[in-house]
Symmetry: C2
Subunit: 151 residues, 2 copies
DNA sequence: TTATCAGTGTTGTATATACAACAGGAGCAG
DNA sequence: CTGCTCCTGTTGTATATACAACACTGATAA
């Protein structure tokens, strides 16, 4: 394998790699939301957890991970940060290891306060991606739903 | 803002958030490639850098960051890992801070060796996303091209 | 009852990412 | 030449992510 041959493979890689494109997309979109949410001291990732808890009321860490397709260690560490910030509370459940999470009033106020800014980020993302792009993201998400490992 | 009102906002968030969907997509796709590349001891992110260097021959760290839309600190730390692994070499450029990067024979061999596995990952990703999905990723990538901050 | 196993959550380690702070050199104005 | 600014790259800190290793509990088999 000489340099020229390697360069030919590299050309194909650079022009075709799906992972590269998805990763760039992820960085741009995540930064867009995180920058809007920064004044609230929360990330879009944590906001996703906060929204889910606002929606379902109570949930265990494992359920959050499964529902949001997040690795359990990521969930574990985020819940601890959110608890320290007073946005959620952790109660021991009925059975041994069960830990029941719920949103505190402070967490609910935070969610209500950041919601308009999230809408702004949504609008900015929609402008960036276009209507077809927004639909495409929805379709792609459905395609990978149920694919994630990790419990 | 009572619980019910918060839950209504959360419902919209959960069903509409673009960032959430893009992030799940990113995790699934990145894992797919990383698991295939794991036996080679390289990540898909580093493989992107390796491919670019195979393509252009020589480049400075800053150029890599701009080309691949990666933050300069991410590039800096990855280059150091790749150098330690013997895949790239760093030479002092003509002017002061200039650092010229190039692929070593070992790095070229690695790229040639992992290329078939990358093709397998590409095929698996294409199956997962469908033809329309692959096109959509391309379109979305074009939409965000040139959007990234960071130099 | 006891031993094993499955499910759940935490912690360790490594990479990826972003932003801020910093360091070193280049180029320019004076 | 001196000082200022810009460009470039590294390092510090924090979050996100994945996988492995543990710990603990509950359930089940013997």
């Amino acid at each position: 394998m000489n340099k020229k041959q390697a360069a030919e493979l590299a050309q194909t890689f650079a022009s075709d790699c799906i992972a590269y494109r998805v990763r760039v997309l992820n960085r741009v979109i995540t930064n867009l939301y995180d920058s809007v949410l920064k004044p609230f001291g929360i990330t879009v990732n944590q906001t996703t957890i906060l929204a889910m808890l606002n929606l379902v009321g109570k949930a265990r860490p494992g359920k959050i991970g499964k529902q949001l397709h997040m690795e359990k260690s990521t969930v574990s560490r985020n819940l601890e940060r959110m608890r320290k910030n007073g946005w959620i509370q952790v109660a021991d459940g009925d059975s041994g290891t069960a830990r029941i999470l719920s949103v505190t009033p402070k967490g609910r106020r935070l969610f209500a306060a950041l919601y308009p800014e999230w809408e702004n980020a949504q609008a900015a993302a929609a402008r960036l991606l276009g209507d077809a792009g927004v639909d495409a993201v929805q379709t792609l998400h459905e395609a990978v739903e149920g694919t994630t490992r990790s419990s």
